[in-house]
């Protein structure tokens, strides 16, 4: 993200779901700094569901440990709604600490990103720009609904050529180097061959 990157969040509407009022204040203050002032705050996962059913938003921030319906289940619920707009709403999971038992849930619930607390304005703005601009695939199958999780080897997003992690692979890694093998060549790889002693 360049300092000269222009962002316009004036007409966007966001939902903040967190059971802690001060945590809501922190996030709302940071978003207001970014120009996003149309924010709805809710204290429980159930309130978040009611709000989203009534009026979709453009961006969701939910705490992982929110009361009633936790952040993981809230996003999993969102990803299974009939409305495509609702189903594909960018949702960022925020968490102070992710217990070991919840690591797989965090990966599989369908969150667009997970952000660790304490919140950093720099990280938050980068994630907002990524969810808004990335041409990320949306996957729907029996066991998972949400943004494609398998993009580690697909190379960094187009607008972030330097990548997101130190070990990000170049985009060419995931591409085939040669033509596909023929059936005969495949057979020769797996069938035992008699060799002369």
């Amino acid at each position: 993200m360049l300092p000269s990157t222009l962002i316009n969040l004036e007409k966007a509407r966001a939902l903040i779901a967190d059971s802690n009022g001060q945590a809501q204040d922190i996030l709302a203050s940071v978003l207001a700094g970014f120009g996003l002032r149309n924010v709805v705050r809710v204290n429980t996962g159930r309130e978040a569901q009611e709000e989203l059913r009534a009026r979709p938003v453009d961006l969701i921030f939910t705490d992982a440990q929110i009361k009633d319906v936790d952040g993981y289940d809230l996003i999993a619920w969102l990803r299974r709604q009939n409305s495509e707009t609702l189903r594909q709403t960018p949702a960022i999971l925020v968490s102070a600490h992710t217990p070991l038992r919840d690591v797989a849930r965090a990966r599989d619930c369908g969150a667009s990103f997970m952000v660790a607390k304490p919140l950093s304005p720099q990280v938050l703005l980068e994630r907002i720009l990524w969810v808004a601009r990335s041409d990320r695939a949306f996957i729907e199958c029996d066991v998972y609904v949400g943004p494609d999780r398998r993009w580690r080897n697909a190379g960094p997003p187009v607008e972030h050529p330097d990548g997101r992690r130190r070990d990000d692979q170049a985009a060419e890694i995931g591409q085939a180097a040669d033509d596909n093998l023929s059936q005969t060549e495949l057979d020769q790889l797996v069938k035992p061959q008699r060799t002369a002693a």
């Binding site: 004036e10 102070a96 304490p118 729907e140």
Partner: protein, 156 residues
């Protein structure tokens, strides 16, 4: 095998952000930092309150208090952006891990919680030059490693 539907996400947010106007990222970050600066003192006050509550609930320690202790420690992580040093966040994170992974009834868990709370009190509202946070955090790391070993041995 189940059918996999693959589409391209087209969030409305992308369209809204393309509209004319807006602010530069550098200005947005500066404004966000300024907004957080005004919250610094209330957040430090909330950490002080959480520490008082942590001390009260951990002395005497009871297994029933673990969910509340965990929540208070998570709150400290959340508010720790107001601190001058990152030791508070790291100590609170270590306490969350201890409460989540250690054997609840083991005497070392109770002792570990007490040491973590005392360390958090030492680190709170300090600046780097005032305290050797590295030694404190290394000590907490050893306590957590020992608790994990005990829990692993019990599970085996």
């Amino acid at each position: 095998m189940s059918e996999v539907k693959r589409t391209r996400m087209k969030p409305r947010l992308a369209e809204l952000m393309k509209q004319p106007g807006g602010i530069y990222a550098a200005d947005a970050l500066e404004r966000a930092e300024q907004a957080l600066e005004t919250m610094r003192e209330p957040l430090l006050g909330s950490i002080s309150e959480a520490l008082v509550e942590l001390e009260r609930l951990s002395n005497p320690f009871s297994v029933q208090a673990i969910p509340t202790l965990y929540r208070l420690s998570s709150d400290i992580i959340n508010f720790s952006l107001a601190e001058q040093i990152n030791g508070v966040e790291r100590a609170a994170r270590s306490l969350c891990e201890l409460l989540d992974e250690a054997l609840p009834n083991d005497p070392t868990t109770r002792a570990g919680v007490t040491v973590h709370v005392a360390s958090l009190k030492l680190l709170h509202r300090r600046v780097d030059a005032e305290i050797d946070q590295r030694s404190i955090l290394e000590g907490l790391g050893r306590i957590l490693a020992k608790a994990r070993e005990t829990a692993k041995a019990e599970a085996a």
